[in-house]
Symmetry: C2
Subunit: 250 residues, 2 copies
């Protein structure tokens, strides 16, 4: 069974890239076959995976009909990567002008991975939409702050609309609370709101604010490799465990 | 002299909205005539300004040739606002399809404000580009973290390209260090890198991480109104002072 997971939230800076990279590393650490795809022109996930941002992004796969396998690189963190980079800006225009929506879903179907994790940019643009078409499940990282609550229903509505039009098997699979500092009341209040409104979706694993998670990318690696004993690394290992349990119990 | 200031950075969650709203409130507190424009479909700045997100966004001004003055609302925080909202997603498509780039610059030229502050979404899309065309100066909020350094040169290059093609009088006027926690080494290292690479651009005022800045939007106001004695509010008052000094000394 192949799980294609989009990490998405149009709110910026909520921990999408940090979640994509550390989840990929945690799943790879449990001997699973994992591919990380960087769909953000910023290329932050590529940096954290230790693979240079380069011009062999998905843009060539779409525009020159190249085989997606030629763009897969082995990362030093035990999982495979398709890097991102600035040429993804051209890909966004290309998908729109050539009506290539849904191409990523086709390209991923022959690939043999147990998990494919897609990092997306902070916007519901063509690149994020491609990942929502291709995904079998979406995880929504969310900071427990006021602005974050505002954007979440429009993302959930977008996914449900695609699903109702039979364009995708995707569904909102979970909401991940990130950068949580339970000492402050705002985080507690927002967290309680989330549990009230989305009881079945909110994962139990809380990702704490932990500077080791922010330091790891400057070493071109995940916190799991950089500092496995840190609270951040342990939280993402626990998240991988909860994800697998929730998948297995359907 | 009218100052039209874009608050921009395609990296998400770096404090663009928090800077736009608190800078507008701080400048209004010094009896200056200020307009805040929310160009983000998320509408976070509208929420923090205490004005409901509504459908009278700039989309009507562009598509129905309405007068921009009809869309200006008085906020409870002492400055005027043009709210954002989901219809800005349609505006982005409209600008591209109808080649309406540069329209905002025209619409703003008859307005009589000393400061016009524009909050932008986390991407270099048509909405952000409109603000970069219209602006006379751009402030770049930046978290002192590793990923933030990666995106900054592509933003600076975009602004310099527009300026060299005589499309705008805009220039990168300053880099604002936000959510700074000087207890952690990563922030110190990144901050020193910034001072080394951009010595003339980095503002001296540091905005500290302060939970009052994150709480204020849930009360529909800026930290300056919500908790004027807080470190966050004081930092933004200091920022307004440094901005005015730098403008006056040319
Ligand atoms: N749990 C955490 N503890 C401390 N720092 C974190 C944590 N998660 C993420 N960060 C840091 O916070 C910043 C934002 O996180 P990240 O870049 O992963 O968010 P994002 O949603 O991918 O942002 P964008 O919207 O720009 O894509 C980064 O500098 C990252 O290193
Ligand atoms: N100095 C600060 N101290 C504490 N919290 C802050 C500070 N500045 C911003 N925040 C909080 O951090 C989060 C991100 O800030 P904000 O939304 O202003 O960033 P942004 O760049 O506008 O994000 P986006 O890219 O989504 O537009 C918000 O929840 C905000 O309340
Ligand atoms: Mg990211
Ligand atoms: Mg914002």
């Amino acid at each position: 069974m192949k799980h294609i997971i989009a990490i998405a939230n149009q709110k910026g800076g909520v921990g999408k890239t940090t979640t994509a990279v550390n989840l990929a590393a945690a799943l790879a650490a449990t001997k699973r076959n994992v591919l990380l795809i960087d769909l953000d022109p910023q290329g932050n996930a590529s940096t954290a995976a230790g693979t240079p941002k380069n011009d062999r992004t998905l843009f060539q796969v779409y525009s020159q009909n190249l085989n997606i396998n030629e763009h897969i690189i082995k990362s030093p963190s035990g999982y495979d990567v398709i890097p991102g980079g600035e040429s993804l800006i051209a890909l966004e225009v290309y998908i729109r002008n050539e009506s290539k929506q849904g191409e990523l879903k086709k390209q991923l179907s022959p690939l043999e991975y147990e998990f494919i994790i897609m990092d997306t940019p902070p916007s519901l643009n063509q690149l994020t939409l491609e990942s929502l078409f291709a995904a079998t499940a979406t995880l929504i990282p969310l900071q427990c702050e006021y602005y974050s609550l505002e954007g979440i229903s429009s993302l959930i509505n977008t996914i449900n609309t695609l699903k109702n039009k039979n364009l995708t098997e995707n569904r909102v699979f979970g909401i991940i609370r990130t950068m949580v500092d339970m000492r402050n009341n705002l985080a507690k209040e927002v967290s309680e709101e989330l549990e009230k409104h989305f009881p079945a979706l909110v994962f139990n694993t809380l990702i704490p604010r932990n500077v080791k998670l922010a330091e790891a990318p400057s070493h071109g690696t995940s916190a799991i490799q950089y500092m496995p004993s840190s609270f951040g690394a342990k939280a993402y290992l626990a998240l991988a465990g909860e994800l697998i349990r929730r998948i297995e119990s359907g």
